[in-house]
Protein backbone atom coordinates (compact mmCIF):
# COMPACT_ATOMS: atom_id res chain seq x y z
CA UNK A 1 0.00 0.00 0.00
CA UNK A 2 2.98 2.32 0.53
CA UNK A 3 3.72 2.18 -3.17
CA UNK A 4 0.13 3.13 -3.91
CA UNK A 5 0.37 5.92 -1.33
CA UNK A 6 3.31 7.67 -2.93
CA UNK A 7 1.82 7.05 -6.35
CA UNK A 8 -1.34 8.81 -5.27
CA UNK A 9 0.42 11.87 -3.89
CA UNK A 10 2.39 12.15 -7.11
CA UNK A 11 -0.83 11.87 -9.00
CA UNK A 12 -2.38 14.65 -6.96
CA UNK A 13 0.52 16.90 -7.89
CA UNK A 14 0.38 16.00 -11.56
CA UNK A 15 -3.37 16.43 -11.53
CA UNK A 16 -3.13 19.93 -10.11
CA UNK A 17 -0.55 20.94 -12.68
CA UNK A 18 -2.64 19.23 -15.35
CA UNK A 19 -5.60 21.34 -14.29
CA UNK A 20 -3.54 24.53 -14.46
CA UNK A 21 -2.08 23.51 -17.81
CA UNK A 22 -5.42 22.51 -19.21
CA UNK A 23 -7.00 25.79 -18.17
CA UNK A 24 -4.15 27.87 -19.55
CA UNK A 25 -4.15 25.77 -22.70
CA UNK A 26 -7.87 26.18 -23.14
CA UNK A 27 -7.86 29.90 -22.67
CA UNK A 28 -4.41 30.86 -23.97
CA UNK A 29 -5.60 31.72 -27.44
CA UNK A 30 -8.68 33.55 -26.16
CA UNK A 31 -6.47 35.66 -23.91
CA UNK A 32 -4.02 36.22 -26.76
CA UNK A 33 -6.74 37.38 -29.14
CA UNK A 34 -8.13 39.70 -26.47
CA UNK A 35 -4.67 41.26 -26.09
CA UNK A 36 -4.35 41.63 -29.86
CA UNK A 37 -7.79 43.24 -30.06
CA UNK A 38 -6.99 45.77 -27.34
CA UNK A 39 -3.67 46.57 -29.02
CA UNK A 40 -5.42 47.11 -32.35
CA UNK A 41 -8.09 49.31 -30.74
CA UNK A 42 -5.40 51.49 -29.15
CA UNK A 43 -3.38 51.62 -32.37
CA UNK A 44 -6.31 52.68 -34.55
CA UNK A 45 -7.67 55.06 -31.90
CA UNK A 46 -4.42 57.02 -32.13
CA UNK A 47 -3.67 56.64 -35.82
CA UNK A 48 -7.14 57.04 -37.39
CA UNK A 49 -8.99 60.22 -36.36
CA UNK A 50 -12.52 58.99 -36.75
CA UNK A 51 -11.96 55.46 -35.43
CA UNK A 52 -12.78 55.94 -31.75
CA UNK A 53 -16.10 57.69 -32.28
CA UNK A 54 -19.41 56.21 -31.14
CA UNK A 55 -20.71 56.45 -34.69
CA UNK A 56 -17.83 54.48 -36.13
CA UNK A 57 -17.86 51.84 -33.42
CA UNK A 58 -21.60 51.26 -33.87
CA UNK A 59 -20.99 51.12 -37.61
CA UNK A 60 -18.25 48.57 -36.98
CA UNK A 61 -20.64 46.43 -34.96
CA UNK A 62 -23.15 46.59 -37.80
CA UNK A 63 -20.46 45.62 -40.28
CA UNK A 64 -19.40 42.53 -38.38
CA UNK A 65 -22.96 41.44 -37.47
CA UNK A 66 -23.32 38.92 -40.35
CA UNK A 67 -19.84 37.52 -39.65
CA UNK A 68 -20.50 37.20 -35.94
CA UNK A 69 -23.88 35.51 -36.42
CA UNK A 70 -22.53 32.90 -38.81
CA UNK A 71 -19.30 32.53 -36.79
CA UNK A 72 -21.40 31.66 -33.73
CA UNK A 73 -23.01 28.80 -35.65
CA UNK A 74 -19.69 27.89 -37.28
CA UNK A 75 -18.16 27.48 -33.81
CA UNK A 76 -20.57 24.59 -33.28
CA UNK A 77 -19.70 23.02 -36.64
CA UNK A 78 -15.94 23.34 -36.15
CA UNK A 79 -16.26 22.00 -32.58
CA UNK A 80 -17.56 18.75 -34.07
CA UNK A 81 -14.42 18.69 -36.26
CA UNK A 82 -16.57 19.68 -39.24
CA UNK A 83 -16.50 22.67 -41.53
CA UNK A 84 -19.11 24.53 -43.57
CA UNK A 85 -17.73 26.23 -46.66
CA UNK A 86 -21.15 26.89 -48.16
CA UNK A 87 -22.15 29.79 -45.89
CA UNK A 88 -20.96 32.51 -48.29
CA UNK A 89 -22.99 31.10 -51.16
CA UNK A 90 -25.98 30.64 -48.88
CA UNK A 91 -25.71 34.35 -48.00
CA UNK A 92 -25.81 35.21 -51.71
CA UNK A 93 -28.70 32.85 -52.50
CA UNK A 94 -30.86 33.88 -49.54
CA UNK A 95 -30.28 37.61 -50.17
CA UNK A 96 -31.01 37.25 -53.89
CA UNK A 97 -34.13 35.13 -53.42
CA UNK A 98 -35.39 37.46 -50.71
CA UNK A 99 -35.18 40.41 -53.11
CA UNK A 100 -36.78 38.42 -55.94
CA UNK A 101 -39.75 37.12 -53.97
CA UNK A 102 -40.35 40.58 -52.48
CA UNK A 103 -40.37 41.96 -56.01
CA UNK A 104 -42.98 39.31 -56.86
CA UNK A 105 -45.13 40.81 -54.14
CA UNK A 106 -44.67 38.29 -51.34
CA UNK A 107 -45.41 39.60 -47.89
CA UNK A 108 -42.09 40.34 -46.11
CA UNK A 109 -43.04 38.07 -43.18
CA UNK A 110 -43.71 35.10 -45.44
CA UNK A 111 -40.58 35.86 -47.46
CA UNK A 112 -38.47 36.00 -44.30
CA UNK A 113 -39.80 32.69 -43.01
CA UNK A 114 -39.30 31.08 -46.42
CA UNK A 115 -35.68 32.29 -46.61
CA UNK A 116 -34.89 30.99 -43.11
CA UNK A 117 -36.50 27.66 -44.04
CA UNK A 118 -34.34 27.59 -47.15
CA UNK A 119 -31.26 28.09 -44.96
CA UNK A 120 -32.35 25.21 -42.75
CA UNK A 121 -32.88 23.04 -45.85
CA UNK A 122 -29.40 23.82 -47.18
CA UNK A 123 -28.02 22.97 -43.75
CA UNK A 124 -30.03 19.75 -43.76
CA UNK A 125 -28.50 18.68 -47.07
CA UNK A 126 -25.00 19.50 -45.79
CA UNK A 127 -25.66 17.68 -42.54
CA UNK A 128 -27.32 14.65 -44.12
CA UNK A 129 -24.38 13.97 -46.43
CA UNK A 130 -21.76 14.78 -43.79
CA UNK A 131 -23.28 13.23 -40.71
CA UNK A 132 -25.52 10.42 -41.97
CA UNK A 133 -23.49 9.41 -45.03
CA UNK A 134 -20.06 10.11 -43.54
CA UNK A 135 -18.85 12.07 -46.55
CA UNK A 136 -16.14 14.56 -45.50
CA UNK A 137 -17.93 17.85 -44.78
CA UNK A 138 -15.15 19.68 -46.59
CA UNK A 139 -16.23 18.06 -49.87
CA UNK A 140 -19.98 18.20 -49.19
CA UNK A 141 -20.00 21.90 -48.34
CA UNK A 142 -17.54 22.74 -51.13
CA UNK A 143 -19.99 21.17 -53.58
CA UNK A 144 -22.86 23.06 -51.96
CA UNK A 145 -20.80 26.27 -52.22
CA UNK A 146 -20.76 25.81 -55.97
CA UNK A 147 -24.40 24.72 -56.23
CA UNK A 148 -25.75 27.61 -54.13
CA UNK A 149 -23.64 30.25 -55.86
CA UNK A 150 -24.72 28.89 -59.23
CA UNK A 151 -28.37 28.88 -58.18
CA UNK A 152 -28.06 32.48 -57.02
CA UNK A 153 -26.49 33.51 -60.34
CA UNK A 154 -29.15 31.62 -62.32
CA UNK A 155 -31.99 33.14 -60.30
CA UNK A 156 -30.73 36.70 -60.68
CA UNK A 157 -29.05 36.28 -64.09
CA UNK A 158 -26.18 38.14 -62.44
CA UNK A 159 -28.14 41.34 -61.83
CA UNK A 160 -28.84 42.89 -58.47
CA UNK A 161 -32.47 43.01 -57.45
CA UNK A 162 -33.59 46.13 -55.54
CA UNK A 163 -35.61 45.87 -52.32
CA UNK A 164 -38.14 48.66 -51.81
CA UNK A 165 -37.32 50.92 -48.86
CA UNK A 166 -41.04 51.07 -47.98
CA UNK A 167 -41.11 47.49 -46.73
CA UNK A 168 -40.63 46.95 -42.98
CA UNK A 169 -38.09 44.25 -43.69
CA UNK A 170 -35.38 46.78 -44.61
CA UNK A 171 -35.42 47.83 -40.96
CA UNK A 172 -33.66 44.53 -40.16
CA UNK A 173 -30.60 45.79 -41.98
CA UNK A 174 -30.99 49.55 -41.59
CA UNK A 175 -33.05 50.16 -38.46
CA UNK A 176 -31.81 51.36 -35.11
CA UNK A 177 -33.17 50.78 -31.64
CA UNK A 178 -32.09 53.49 -29.17
CA UNK A 179 -29.39 54.50 -31.63
CA UNK A 180 -27.93 50.98 -31.88
CA UNK A 181 -28.15 49.31 -35.30
CA UNK A 182 -30.57 46.35 -35.34
CA UNK A 183 -27.97 43.98 -36.90
CA UNK A 184 -25.60 44.72 -34.01
CA UNK A 185 -28.31 43.90 -31.45
CA UNK A 186 -29.22 40.75 -33.34
CA UNK A 187 -25.59 39.65 -33.50
CA UNK A 188 -25.01 40.20 -29.79
CA UNK A 189 -28.17 38.24 -28.91
CA UNK A 190 -27.21 35.38 -31.22
CA UNK A 191 -23.68 35.24 -29.81
CA UNK A 192 -24.96 35.21 -26.22
CA UNK A 193 -27.48 32.46 -26.95
CA UNK A 194 -24.75 30.54 -28.77
CA UNK A 195 -22.47 30.83 -25.77
CA UNK A 196 -25.23 29.64 -23.45
CA UNK A 197 -26.10 26.68 -25.66
CA UNK A 198 -22.47 25.64 -26.13
CA UNK A 199 -21.46 25.80 -22.48
CA UNK A 200 -24.63 25.16 -20.52
CA UNK A 201 -26.82 22.72 -22.41
CA UNK A 202 -26.63 18.99 -23.10
CA UNK A 203 -26.60 19.77 -26.83
CA UNK A 204 -23.49 21.95 -26.43
CA UNK A 205 -21.87 19.18 -24.42
CA UNK A 206 -22.63 16.64 -27.17
CA UNK A 207 -21.20 18.97 -29.82
CA UNK A 208 -17.90 19.06 -27.93
CA UNK A 209 -18.09 15.31 -27.30
CA UNK A 210 -18.70 14.63 -30.99
CA UNK A 211 -15.56 16.54 -31.92
CA UNK A 212 -13.55 15.07 -29.08
CA UNK A 213 -14.47 11.39 -29.43
CA UNK A 214 -17.60 10.77 -31.47
CA UNK A 215 -17.50 7.00 -31.00
CA UNK A 216 -17.44 7.42 -27.23
CA UNK A 217 -20.44 9.70 -27.38
CA UNK A 218 -22.31 7.26 -29.63
CA UNK A 219 -21.70 4.41 -27.21
CA UNK A 220 -23.28 6.37 -24.38
CA UNK A 221 -26.49 6.31 -26.38
CA UNK A 222 -26.47 9.84 -27.79
CA UNK A 223 -27.75 10.13 -31.35
CA UNK A 224 -24.52 11.58 -32.71
CA UNK A 225 -25.77 11.76 -36.29
CA UNK A 226 -28.60 14.00 -35.22
CA UNK A 227 -26.16 16.25 -33.36
CA UNK A 228 -23.98 16.38 -36.48
CA UNK A 229 -26.95 17.20 -38.66
CA UNK A 230 -28.18 19.91 -36.31
CA UNK A 231 -24.94 21.91 -36.34
CA UNK A 232 -25.09 22.22 -40.15
CA UNK A 233 -28.70 23.35 -39.91
CA UNK A 234 -27.50 26.02 -37.47
CA UNK A 235 -24.95 27.37 -39.98
CA UNK A 236 -27.53 27.14 -42.76
CA UNK A 237 -30.07 29.23 -40.85
CA UNK A 238 -27.37 31.62 -39.60
CA UNK A 239 -26.13 32.14 -43.17
CA UNK A 240 -29.70 32.84 -44.32
CA UNK A 241 -30.05 35.42 -41.53
CA UNK A 242 -26.75 36.96 -42.62
CA UNK A 243 -28.00 37.03 -46.21
CA UNK A 244 -31.16 38.84 -45.11
CA UNK A 245 -29.12 41.33 -43.06
CA UNK A 246 -26.77 42.13 -45.94
CA UNK A 247 -29.52 42.37 -48.56
CA UNK A 248 -31.75 44.60 -46.42
CA UNK A 249 -28.84 46.81 -45.37
CA UNK A 250 -27.96 47.42 -49.02
CA UNK A 251 -31.64 47.40 -50.14
CA UNK A 252 -30.55 45.01 -52.81
CA UNK A 253 -30.16 41.28 -53.29
CA UNK A 254 -27.02 40.34 -55.19
CA UNK A 255 -25.71 36.98 -56.31
CA UNK A 256 -22.20 38.29 -55.68
CA UNK A 257 -22.82 38.95 -52.00
CA UNK A 258 -20.83 36.95 -49.48
CA UNK A 259 -17.93 35.97 -51.70
CA UNK A 260 -15.07 35.05 -49.40
CA UNK A 261 -17.49 35.26 -46.50
CA UNK A 262 -16.85 31.64 -45.44
CA UNK A 263 -13.15 32.43 -45.12
CA UNK A 264 -13.84 35.43 -42.92
CA UNK A 265 -16.16 33.41 -40.68
CA UNK A 266 -13.76 30.49 -40.33
CA UNK A 267 -10.92 32.93 -39.60
CA UNK A 268 -12.95 34.52 -36.81
CA UNK A 269 -13.66 31.12 -35.26
CA UNK A 270 -10.11 29.79 -35.52
CA UNK A 271 -8.67 33.11 -34.33
CA UNK A 272 -10.74 32.72 -31.18
CA UNK A 273 -9.08 29.44 -30.28
CA UNK A 274 -11.63 26.88 -31.47
CA UNK A 275 -9.72 23.85 -32.71
CA UNK A 276 -10.21 22.77 -36.33
CA UNK A 277 -9.73 19.21 -35.10
CA UNK A 278 -12.80 19.48 -32.88
CA UNK A 279 -13.42 19.11 -29.18
CA UNK A 280 -12.12 22.49 -28.16
CA UNK A 281 -14.30 25.56 -28.54
CA UNK A 282 -14.49 29.11 -27.25
CA UNK A 283 -17.55 31.19 -28.04
CA UNK A 284 -15.97 34.21 -26.33
CA UNK A 285 -12.95 33.67 -28.58
CA UNK A 286 -15.20 33.63 -31.64
CA UNK A 287 -16.75 36.96 -30.60
CA UNK A 288 -13.28 38.46 -30.05
CA UNK A 289 -12.10 36.97 -33.35
CA UNK A 290 -14.98 38.52 -35.29
CA UNK A 291 -14.37 41.87 -33.55
CA UNK A 292 -10.67 41.73 -34.39
CA UNK A 293 -11.34 41.09 -38.08
CA UNK A 294 -13.89 43.93 -38.09
CA UNK A 295 -11.50 46.33 -36.38
CA UNK A 296 -8.74 45.54 -38.86
CA UNK A 297 -11.00 46.01 -41.90
CA UNK A 298 -12.57 49.17 -40.49
CA UNK A 299 -9.29 50.66 -39.26
CA UNK A 300 -7.41 50.02 -42.49
CA UNK A 301 -10.14 51.72 -44.50
CA UNK A 302 -10.05 54.74 -42.17
CA UNK A 303 -6.28 54.85 -42.66
CA UNK A 304 -6.94 55.00 -46.41
CA UNK A 305 -5.21 51.69 -47.02
CA UNK A 306 -6.42 50.03 -50.21
CA UNK A 307 -9.36 47.74 -49.32
CA UNK A 308 -7.71 45.04 -51.38
CA UNK A 309 -5.17 44.64 -48.60
CA UNK A 310 -7.93 43.59 -46.20
CA UNK A 311 -8.24 40.19 -47.88
CA UNK A 312 -4.49 39.68 -47.83
CA UNK A 313 -4.36 40.56 -44.15
CA UNK A 314 -7.30 38.28 -43.34
CA UNK A 315 -5.72 35.32 -45.11
CA UNK A 316 -2.42 35.91 -43.36
CA UNK A 317 -4.22 36.11 -40.00
CA UNK A 318 -5.99 32.80 -40.65
CA UNK A 319 -2.69 31.09 -41.39
CA UNK A 320 -1.03 32.57 -38.30
CA UNK A 321 -4.01 31.70 -36.11
CA UNK A 322 -4.00 28.04 -37.18
CA UNK A 323 -0.24 27.93 -36.68
CA UNK A 324 -0.56 29.36 -33.18
CA UNK A 325 -3.50 27.08 -32.45
CA UNK A 326 -1.81 23.84 -33.38
CA UNK A 327 1.85 24.56 -32.59
CA UNK A 328 2.19 27.23 -29.92
CA UNK A 329 -0.79 26.95 -27.59
CA UNK A 330 -0.85 23.18 -27.79
CA UNK A 331 2.26 23.15 -25.58
CA UNK A 332 0.21 24.49 -22.71
CA UNK A 333 -2.75 22.26 -23.27
CA UNK A 334 -0.82 18.98 -23.36
CA UNK A 335 -4.05 17.18 -24.15
CA UNK A 336 -4.13 17.63 -27.89
CA UNK A 337 -4.35 14.52 -29.96
Amino acid sequence: MTATGTGTSQRVVTTRSARANAHIGRHAQTIAIAVVLVALLIFFAFSADRFATTGNLLNLLRQIAPTLIVATAMTFVISTAGIDLSVGSTVALSGSLLAIVLQHGWSPTVALIAILALGALIGFVNGWFSSYQNIPPFIVTLAMLSIMRGTALRATEGYSTPISGDLWIVQIGQGRIAGVPVPAILAVVVALVGWLVLTRTPFGRYVIGLGSNGESLRRTGVNTRKVGLTVYMLTGVAAAVAGVLIATRLSSGSSNAGSGFELEVITAVVLGGTSLFGGRASMLGTILGALTLGVIANGLVLLHVSPFYVQIVQGAILLLAIFANSKVWAKFGAIRK
Partner: protein, 259 residues
Protein backbone atom coordinates in the same frame (compact mmCIF):
# COMPACT_ATOMS: atom_id res chain seq x y z
CA UNK B 1 -27.85 -24.55 -16.83
CA UNK B 2 -31.14 -25.44 -15.29
CA UNK B 3 -29.47 -27.20 -12.40
CA UNK B 4 -29.08 -24.08 -10.29
CA UNK B 5 -29.97 -24.27 -6.62
CA UNK B 6 -33.31 -22.70 -5.71
CA UNK B 7 -33.33 -19.05 -4.57
CA UNK B 8 -30.14 -18.25 -6.40
CA UNK B 9 -30.98 -17.23 -9.93
CA UNK B 10 -28.04 -16.74 -12.24
CA UNK B 11 -27.47 -13.13 -13.23
CA UNK B 12 -27.03 -14.12 -16.81
CA UNK B 13 -26.97 -17.34 -18.79
CA UNK B 14 -25.92 -17.35 -22.44
CA UNK B 15 -26.90 -20.61 -24.06
CA UNK B 16 -25.60 -22.03 -27.33
CA UNK B 17 -24.71 -18.65 -28.84
CA UNK B 18 -23.67 -18.83 -32.48
CA UNK B 19 -22.37 -16.10 -34.73
CA UNK B 20 -20.95 -16.43 -38.21
CA UNK B 21 -19.22 -13.71 -40.23
CA UNK B 22 -19.20 -14.93 -43.81
CA UNK B 23 -16.78 -17.86 -43.83
CA UNK B 24 -15.67 -17.32 -40.25
CA UNK B 25 -17.39 -19.13 -37.42
CA UNK B 26 -16.77 -16.58 -34.66
CA UNK B 27 -18.95 -18.33 -32.09
CA UNK B 28 -19.82 -21.98 -32.45
CA UNK B 29 -22.36 -22.56 -29.71
CA UNK B 30 -21.06 -20.96 -26.53
CA UNK B 31 -22.70 -21.40 -23.16
CA UNK B 32 -21.68 -19.12 -20.31
CA UNK B 33 -23.22 -18.35 -16.96
CA UNK B 34 -22.43 -15.68 -14.39
CA UNK B 35 -23.85 -15.51 -10.89
CA UNK B 36 -24.76 -12.36 -8.96
CA UNK B 37 -21.67 -10.56 -7.63
CA UNK B 38 -19.46 -13.11 -9.30
CA UNK B 39 -16.26 -12.11 -11.11
CA UNK B 40 -15.69 -14.29 -14.15
CA UNK B 41 -12.43 -14.12 -16.06
CA UNK B 42 -12.88 -14.72 -19.78
CA UNK B 43 -9.64 -15.76 -21.42
CA UNK B 44 -8.50 -17.26 -24.66
CA UNK B 45 -6.11 -16.62 -27.50
CA UNK B 46 -6.66 -13.86 -30.00
CA UNK B 47 -9.67 -14.58 -32.22
CA UNK B 48 -11.03 -17.11 -29.74
CA UNK B 49 -14.31 -15.17 -29.76
CA UNK B 50 -14.12 -13.43 -26.38
CA UNK B 51 -14.87 -9.95 -27.66
CA UNK B 52 -17.59 -11.12 -30.01
CA UNK B 53 -19.29 -13.01 -27.19
CA UNK B 54 -19.18 -9.94 -24.98
CA UNK B 55 -20.47 -7.72 -27.77
CA UNK B 56 -23.41 -10.10 -28.07
CA UNK B 57 -24.02 -9.73 -24.36
CA UNK B 58 -23.72 -5.94 -24.56
CA UNK B 59 -26.11 -5.78 -27.51
CA UNK B 60 -23.50 -4.49 -29.96
CA UNK B 61 -23.65 -7.70 -32.02
CA UNK B 62 -26.82 -9.68 -32.73
CA UNK B 63 -26.15 -13.45 -32.63
CA UNK B 64 -27.37 -15.81 -35.36
CA UNK B 65 -28.87 -18.16 -32.80
CA UNK B 66 -28.85 -18.98 -29.11
CA UNK B 67 -30.60 -17.52 -26.11
CA UNK B 68 -29.74 -15.16 -23.31
CA UNK B 69 -31.47 -15.39 -19.95
CA UNK B 70 -31.04 -12.39 -17.69
CA UNK B 71 -32.20 -12.61 -14.08
CA UNK B 72 -34.31 -15.61 -15.01
CA UNK B 73 -36.02 -13.97 -17.99
CA UNK B 74 -35.18 -14.62 -21.64
CA UNK B 75 -34.05 -11.44 -23.37
CA UNK B 76 -33.01 -10.30 -26.86
CA UNK B 77 -30.96 -7.22 -27.63
CA UNK B 78 -31.23 -5.29 -30.87
CA UNK B 79 -28.73 -2.62 -29.83
CA UNK B 80 -26.53 -1.57 -26.88
CA UNK B 81 -29.33 0.54 -25.47
CA UNK B 82 -31.53 -2.52 -24.88
CA UNK B 83 -28.75 -4.20 -22.92
CA UNK B 84 -27.98 -1.06 -20.96
CA UNK B 85 -31.59 -0.67 -19.92
CA UNK B 86 -31.44 -4.10 -18.29
CA UNK B 87 -28.26 -3.12 -16.46
CA UNK B 88 -25.52 -4.54 -18.67
CA UNK B 89 -22.63 -2.11 -19.07
CA UNK B 90 -19.51 -2.66 -21.12
CA UNK B 91 -16.24 -0.77 -20.76
CA UNK B 92 -14.46 -0.95 -24.06
CA UNK B 93 -10.80 -1.57 -24.63
CA UNK B 94 -10.17 1.86 -26.11
CA UNK B 95 -11.53 3.67 -23.05
CA UNK B 96 -14.19 5.60 -24.93
CA UNK B 97 -13.71 8.84 -23.04
CA UNK B 98 -13.84 12.34 -24.49
CA UNK B 99 -10.41 13.82 -23.78
CA UNK B 100 -11.61 17.41 -23.97
CA UNK B 101 -14.48 16.97 -21.52
CA UNK B 102 -13.84 17.06 -17.79
CA UNK B 103 -14.09 14.12 -15.38
CA UNK B 104 -17.63 14.86 -14.22
CA UNK B 105 -18.75 15.48 -17.81
CA UNK B 106 -17.39 12.12 -18.91
CA UNK B 107 -18.97 10.30 -15.97
CA UNK B 108 -22.38 11.64 -16.93
CA UNK B 109 -21.94 11.82 -20.71
CA UNK B 110 -25.28 11.14 -22.35
CA UNK B 111 -27.10 11.15 -18.99
CA UNK B 112 -26.31 14.58 -17.61
CA UNK B 113 -28.28 15.90 -14.67
CA UNK B 114 -30.48 18.65 -16.06
CA UNK B 115 -32.43 21.62 -14.82
CA UNK B 116 -34.76 24.25 -16.26
CA UNK B 117 -37.07 21.57 -17.62
CA UNK B 118 -34.28 19.52 -19.14
CA UNK B 119 -32.92 22.38 -21.23
CA UNK B 120 -29.84 23.20 -19.20
CA UNK B 121 -27.04 21.16 -17.66
CA UNK B 122 -26.99 21.12 -13.89
CA UNK B 123 -23.23 21.54 -13.71
CA UNK B 124 -23.06 21.94 -9.94
CA UNK B 125 -25.04 18.76 -9.29
CA UNK B 126 -22.91 16.97 -11.86
CA UNK B 127 -19.68 17.80 -10.03
CA UNK B 128 -21.17 17.01 -6.60
CA UNK B 129 -22.52 13.65 -7.83
CA UNK B 130 -19.24 12.86 -9.57
CA UNK B 131 -17.33 13.49 -6.35
CA UNK B 132 -19.73 11.23 -4.43
CA UNK B 133 -19.49 8.38 -6.96
CA UNK B 134 -15.69 8.55 -7.18
CA UNK B 135 -15.39 8.51 -3.38
CA UNK B 136 -17.80 5.58 -3.10
CA UNK B 137 -15.57 3.60 -5.46
CA UNK B 138 -12.35 4.72 -3.72
CA UNK B 139 -11.14 6.31 -6.94
CA UNK B 140 -8.55 8.96 -6.12
CA UNK B 141 -9.11 11.77 -8.56
CA UNK B 142 -8.93 15.02 -6.60
CA UNK B 143 -10.48 17.26 -9.23
CA UNK B 144 -13.59 16.61 -11.28
CA UNK B 145 -13.23 19.72 -13.43
CA UNK B 146 -10.12 18.87 -15.43
CA UNK B 147 -10.32 17.32 -18.89
CA UNK B 148 -9.69 13.56 -18.77
CA UNK B 149 -7.00 14.02 -21.42
CA UNK B 150 -4.80 15.33 -18.61
CA UNK B 151 -5.19 12.22 -16.43
CA UNK B 152 -2.95 9.17 -16.17
CA UNK B 153 -3.93 5.94 -17.91
CA UNK B 154 -5.06 4.34 -14.64
CA UNK B 155 -7.18 7.32 -13.72
CA UNK B 156 -8.75 7.35 -17.17
CA UNK B 157 -9.55 3.66 -16.91
CA UNK B 158 -11.00 4.27 -13.45
CA UNK B 159 -13.19 7.03 -14.87
CA UNK B 160 -14.35 4.72 -17.66
CA UNK B 161 -15.25 1.99 -15.16
CA UNK B 162 -16.82 4.49 -12.78
CA UNK B 163 -18.99 5.73 -15.64
CA UNK B 164 -20.23 2.22 -16.27
CA UNK B 165 -20.82 1.62 -12.56
CA UNK B 166 -22.44 4.98 -11.81
CA UNK B 167 -25.82 3.99 -13.10
CA UNK B 168 -26.14 0.85 -11.03
CA UNK B 169 -25.48 -1.93 -13.53
CA UNK B 170 -26.13 -5.54 -12.62
CA UNK B 171 -23.44 -6.84 -14.95
CA UNK B 172 -20.23 -5.08 -15.87
CA UNK B 173 -18.13 -6.25 -18.81
CA UNK B 174 -14.51 -5.10 -18.83
CA UNK B 175 -12.55 -5.63 -22.05
CA UNK B 176 -8.81 -5.50 -21.33
CA UNK B 177 -9.09 -2.84 -18.62
CA UNK B 178 -5.45 -3.17 -17.57
CA UNK B 179 -3.79 -3.65 -20.94
CA UNK B 180 -2.16 -0.24 -21.22
CA UNK B 181 -1.54 0.51 -17.56
CA UNK B 182 1.51 0.86 -15.35
CA UNK B 183 1.88 -1.58 -12.46
CA UNK B 184 0.55 0.74 -9.75
CA UNK B 185 -2.38 1.66 -11.96
CA UNK B 186 -3.30 -1.99 -12.47
CA UNK B 187 -3.68 -2.22 -8.69
CA UNK B 188 -6.15 0.66 -8.78
CA UNK B 189 -8.28 -1.09 -11.37
CA UNK B 190 -8.15 -4.49 -9.65
CA UNK B 191 -9.17 -2.90 -6.34
CA UNK B 192 -12.00 -1.21 -8.18
CA UNK B 193 -13.20 -4.54 -9.57
CA UNK B 194 -13.25 -5.98 -6.04
CA UNK B 195 -15.15 -2.96 -4.73
CA UNK B 196 -17.71 -3.23 -7.48
CA UNK B 197 -18.31 -6.97 -7.11
CA UNK B 198 -18.58 -6.60 -3.32
CA UNK B 199 -21.53 -4.32 -4.04
CA UNK B 200 -23.27 -7.19 -5.82
CA UNK B 201 -22.39 -6.34 -9.40
CA UNK B 202 -21.42 -9.30 -11.57
CA UNK B 203 -18.24 -8.70 -13.53
CA UNK B 204 -16.90 -10.35 -16.66
CA UNK B 205 -13.23 -9.56 -17.10
CA UNK B 206 -11.44 -10.09 -20.39
CA UNK B 207 -7.69 -9.88 -20.05
CA UNK B 208 -4.42 -11.27 -21.30
CA UNK B 209 -2.77 -10.57 -17.94
CA UNK B 210 -3.35 -14.00 -16.45
CA UNK B 211 -1.87 -13.10 -13.05
CA UNK B 212 -4.63 -10.49 -12.61
CA UNK B 213 -7.31 -13.16 -13.02
CA UNK B 214 -6.27 -15.07 -9.92
CA UNK B 215 -6.39 -11.85 -7.88
CA UNK B 216 -10.00 -10.98 -8.53
CA UNK B 217 -11.86 -13.79 -10.29
CA UNK B 218 -14.14 -16.46 -8.85
CA UNK B 219 -14.28 -18.48 -12.06
CA UNK B 220 -12.18 -18.66 -15.19
CA UNK B 221 -13.78 -19.40 -18.53
CA UNK B 222 -11.46 -20.35 -21.36
CA UNK B 223 -12.55 -19.87 -24.95
CA UNK B 224 -10.95 -21.62 -27.87
CA UNK B 225 -11.86 -21.13 -31.53
CA UNK B 226 -15.39 -19.99 -30.89
CA UNK B 227 -16.26 -22.47 -28.15
CA UNK B 228 -16.10 -22.43 -24.38
CA UNK B 229 -13.31 -24.90 -23.74
CA UNK B 230 -13.15 -24.86 -19.95
CA UNK B 231 -14.94 -23.43 -16.94
CA UNK B 232 -12.55 -23.48 -13.99
CA UNK B 233 -12.71 -22.55 -10.33
CA UNK B 234 -10.13 -19.79 -9.88
CA UNK B 235 -9.26 -20.88 -6.33
CA UNK B 236 -7.98 -24.34 -7.23
CA UNK B 237 -6.63 -23.83 -10.72
CA UNK B 238 -2.95 -23.36 -11.37
CA UNK B 239 -1.52 -20.88 -13.85
CA UNK B 240 -0.02 -23.81 -15.78
CA UNK B 241 -3.41 -25.48 -16.09
CA UNK B 242 -4.95 -22.25 -17.30
CA UNK B 243 -2.24 -21.70 -19.91
CA UNK B 244 -2.57 -25.26 -21.21
CA UNK B 245 -6.31 -24.77 -21.57
CA UNK B 246 -5.79 -21.52 -23.48
CA UNK B 247 -3.36 -23.02 -25.95
CA UNK B 248 -5.47 -26.24 -26.06
CA UNK B 249 -2.56 -28.52 -25.26
CA UNK B 250 -4.14 -31.20 -23.21
CA UNK B 251 -7.23 -32.69 -24.79
CA UNK B 252 -7.56 -35.16 -21.89
CA UNK B 253 -8.47 -32.47 -19.39
CA UNK B 254 -11.23 -31.08 -21.52
CA UNK B 255 -13.89 -33.51 -20.36
CA UNK B 256 -13.22 -33.07 -16.67
CA UNK B 257 -13.43 -29.31 -16.84
CA UNK B 258 -16.70 -29.09 -18.71
CA UNK B 259 -19.58 -28.05 -16.58
Amino acid sequence: MTDQEPGRVDRVVMRDIRKRYGMVDALRGVTLRVGPGEVVGLVGDNAAGKSTLMKVLAGAVVPDSGEIVFDGRPVAFANPKDARELGIEMVYQDLALCDDIDVAGNLFLGREPRKAGGLMLDVRKMHADARRHLDALNIRIPLTDIPVGGLSGGQRQAVAIARAVTFGPKLLILDEPTAALAVAEVETVLELIKTVSAQGVSVILITHRLQDLFRVCDRLCVMYEGTLRADLDARNTSLERLVSEIVAHDEGEKEGSRR
